[in-house]
Symmetry: none
Subunit: 152 residues, 2 copies
Amino acid sequence: MGLFLSTYINKIDAKGRVSVPSTFRASLSNESFQGIVLFKSHAHQALEGFPMSYMQNISDRLDHFDLLSEEQDSLAMSIFAESVQLPLDGDGRVVLPAALIEMGGLKDQAAFVGLGHKFQIWNPATLDARKSEAVKNVRAKKMTIPKFEGGQ
Amino acid sequence: MGLFLSTYINKIDAKGRVSVPSTFRASLSNESFQGIVLFKSHAHQALEGFPMSYMQNISDRLDHFDLLSEEQDSLAMSIFAESVQLPLDGDGRVVLPAALIEMGGLKDQAAFVGLGHKFQIWNPATLDARKSEAVKNVRAKKMTIPKFEGGQ
DNA sequence: TGGATATATATGGTATATCATGGAAAAACA
DNA sequence: TGTTTTTCCATGATATACCATATATATCCA
């Protein structure tokens, strides 16, 4: 799978249309669904973005919890029920529904932030603060990248 | 994977273009993405450079954290959000974005420093100081190379 | 060994294609 | 038929591909 890297700031027009960065589109080129899946972040006023194929991965992870358990039920409800799949138009744009623009705290600009297998969409004004907070967290908790354990 | 060795100093032209040393390009020849990934070093005023496959590896390792967890979120943000993937042009060059030139403290020259699986890009003027500092550290703390623990 | 020729590399400049974006036409919906 | 949504087209800015040259390195032959 192609990775989502870098930060790109694009304009949201009056109809809610916004260009998905071309490098992101390139990462989606092998997807059967040509578009993205978005839902509100639980931790931030921002949107989480995934390729459709990765939603399968999320679903598999939720199987870690017992079926019908409180966790499974609540997580599934907050992620799957609230997510929307947005197809790319002929020019590489998606239309953000008004509800998502609101939930993401967006105005007339969208900052697409690559995070590897996923990405986020932020209001550019609040993104910088989050970035420095992230770096601070990594330093404070001395987070490191886990050694590869094989597996999948 | 081919190793990055030695130090090469190349010119940065007015458009930010710089030749990737041919030996580095040779190390990249088996990569599916013909280019490099760069991001600002957290420790120095310099740029970290990786092949795309290595970023893929980092992303896979981050999957060991819970999805949407604080750790996963902060680490991904601090690494992937600020990294850029630069394709090689037909003549073996990449264009450095102005932001990266600034962050790396570069002017009109780039020193490519091979460091094994990765490399760094320095302003030649500040690189010498860093090199002797590194040697001093190794001697003072009597650092040695750990034994191989297996893995890939 | 020496010289000439070929090959690869780094670097500079120019032309072309792509991208983001705004707007209009067409289609779908109620 | 009015309204919304989707598709199509135009354009300026930007980035990418293309071509040219010089310098260094390697190869070949006398």
